[in-house]
């Protein structure tokens, strides 16, 4: 197609037919704008289907009965597809967690801020380095140099408050949102 020739013809016919170019621009802009808006809404509706569905969100909280856990024992429960470490801490462990200078920590946080009741520590059992599950829940597990947890993947050591003390992990083990429903039952999530 001879483009120049065609353009000339178009310009000529625009002149003879007195094209309202302002109106043409308006129509072009509104049409394009509407098409883009519609496309964006359609795209979002489709992409949104990949977000958590209602049945997934419905499983977002779980209740745990703490009464069977003796002092010094641990329990692992599932919450949102992840392990939750619950440890009934001994007096020694609590003391160990509190006799630490906060300034010496990688991720500065007081033990008091990380628990609701001193004897119960509740943390998400996922190493903050690259997502492995640390050891230390079972009797006989390696608990690391600080008596808490030890992640075998890349060697991160956590203390009895679940705080990172040594190794590549950047943050303390996460404390999930939870509350005491009664003296011995907690609701996580």
């Amino acid at each position: 197609m001879d483009k120049k020739n065609l353009n000339d013809k178009l310009v000529e016919s625009d002149k003879t037919q007195k094209v309202d170019s302002e109106k043409r621009d308006f129509l072009f802009m509104t049409t394009t704008g509407l098409a883009l808006a519609g496309g964006a809404i359609a795209a979002w509706s489709l992409i949104d289907t990949m977000n958590p569905a209602k049945d997934v969100l419905a499983l977002s909280s779980t209740e745990v009965d703490l009464s069977p856990i003796e002092s010094g024992q641990s329990l692992t429960v599932m919450w949102r597809g992840k392990p939750i470490f619950i440890r009934h801490r001994t007096k020694d462990e609590i003391k160990q967690a509190r006799n630490v200078l906060v300034d010496d920590l990688t991720h500065k946080s007081l033990d008091e801020e990380r628990v609701k009741k001193p004897e119960w520590l509740v943390v998400v059992g996922v190493c903050t380095h690259l997502g492995c599950v640390p050891l230390g829940q079972k009797v006989g597990d390696e608990k690391g140099e600080y008596g808490g947890w030890f992640c075998p993947c890349h060697g991160s050591h956590y203390d009895t408050s679940g705080r990172i003390r040594k190794g590549p992990a950047p943050l303390n083990l996460d404390v999930p949102p939870y509350e005491f429903v009664s003296d011995e039952i907690i609701k996580i999530g």
Binding site: M1, D2, S45, L46, D48, T49, M50, A53, K54, D55
Partner: protein, 416 residues
């Protein structure tokens, strides 16, 4: 053309020199010379393309939520409807999209039939199109099985049993298709895999279809070849705008169905989970298969019925050699035009009797209609090709377009 290439500068030009994507787009979607007299019937190719994309996008997202297991499939579809964000929308678009795809493609095919788009030199273009239709039918059938409702299950049973009609090897084929002794979990899982695979094969054949199309360009309502530049206009902006407008109208109808009557074209029995012990009293395929289903039931012999049904599609492959009349467009073929419309109505009748129970008068009607279906292709077209005289054909597209305009518009614009 060569001056076009030189115009590309900067990054675009750098890329285009090494990988001529921009030249390609320019050549096929912008400057591409298109007959200036195309009617709205020429929108349906691009509509089919858009529908294919919609089906693939919604299909991929559905596959992320669907579970291809006989025990879980039905519930996973209900979960999509209730729990997945906009899952109902996703499924209803995909469900009704299948119907819209067939409507668009059937109109596209009838248009080709009416205006002789299958004739030389576009035979391979046509054959590729029929291949797409076959792939679509297989894909749609297997997709309908996936929700694992009653219609899914019994549709799968009946259609796969078609192959048992073949002597000696029939039973082995059916067992092979099922991967067992009845339609069951192995059948469902392989249907899911193939249903996911085949649309991508369709995309491939569509690519070839477009390559073949752009070799000689679009046919047109007059059915005569493009003779000079004056017969054509560039694809952009003229036909991009026309396609865009047609798409708007199409989407209004499509989403009218999706939002206001999403189950209008479906069958309520498919909301009952599959039960291998109970067949629904009146089973019918989806509407787009009804004409072929009618042909199957019209024949009292099992094997012949199956053969005729397959032949009804296969005959389209050889159409360019059945209708060898030199004139393409039905506009200039007075007899062909009448037989064509009769054929069109006949297809609607076949669809209608296909939805009715196979008894009484319906059987007779389906036999007559089946008879005319094949008579049209195998007898009427070859005879017309030989003996039909045509009306006067315009010398060129430009001449015809101008003579249409001379009567009213041209005089009036010149007076201004």
């Amino acid at each position: 053309m060569s001056s076009e290439k030189n115009e590309l500068k900067g990054v675009t030009g750098w890329i285009d020199k090494r990988l001529p994507v921009f030249t390609f787009i320019n050549h096929n979607l912008r400057d591409y010379p298109t007959p200036k007299n195309l009617s709205y019937f020429w929108n349906f190719g691009s509509l089919a393309g858009v529908t294919l994309v919609i089906m693939i996008v919604t299909g991929i997202l559905l596959a992320m939520q669907y579970t291809a297991n006989a025990d879980l499939a039905f519930d996973s579809v209900e979960r999509i409807m209730r729990d997945v964000n906009n899952g109902w929308l996703l499924r209803y678009i995909h469900m009704n999209g299948a119907s819209m795809f067939f409507i668009v493609v059937y109109i596209h095919i009838f248009r080709g039939l009416y205006y002789g788009s299958f004739k030389a030199p576009r035979e391979i273009l046509w054959i590729l199109g029929v291949l797409i239709l076959l792939l679509m039918m297989a894909t749609a059938f297997m997709g309908y099985v996936l929700p694992w409702g009653q219609m899914s299950f019994w549709g799968a049973t009946v259609i796969t049993n078609l192959f048992s009609a073949f002597p000696v090897i029939g039973d082995y084929i059916v067992t092979f298709l099922w991967g067992g002794f009845s339609v069951d979990n192995p059948t469902l899982t392989r249907f899911f895999v193939l249903h996911y695979l085949m649309p991508f094969l369709i995309v491939g054949v569509v690519g070839l279809h477009i390559v073949a199309l752009h070799q000689f360009g679009s046919n047109n309502p007059l059915g005569i070849d493009v003779k000079s530049e004056g017969d054509t206009i560039p694809f952009h902006p003229y036909y991009t705008v026309k396609d865009y407008f047609g798409l708007g109208v199409f989407l209004i109808i499509f989403f009218g169905l999706v939002f206001f009557a999403p189950n209008f074209l479906g069958h309520p029995d498919n909301y009952i989970p599959a039960d291998p012990l109970v067949t629904p009293a009146h089973i019918v395929p989806e509407w787009y298969f009804l004409p072929f289903y009618a042909i199957l039931r019209a024949v009292p012999d099992k094997l012949m019925g199956v053969i005729l049904m397959f032949a009804a599609v296969m005959v389209l492959f050889v159409l360019p050699w059945l209708d060898t009349h030199k004139t393409r467009s039905a506009q200039f073929r007075p007899y062909y035009k009448q037989f064509f419309w009769l054929f069109f109505i006949n297809c609607l009748i076949l669809g209608w009797v296909g939805s009715m129970p196979a008894e009484g008068l319906y059987v007779l009607i389906s036999r007559l209609a089946t008879g005319y279906y094949f008579l049209f292709f195998l007898v009427i077209l070859p005879i017309l090709s030989r003996y039909e005289n045509t009306r006067t054909i315009p010398t060129s597209i430009a001449a015809s377009v101008l003579s249409d305009k001379f009567g009213n518009e041209k005089t009036s614009t010149e007076n201004i």
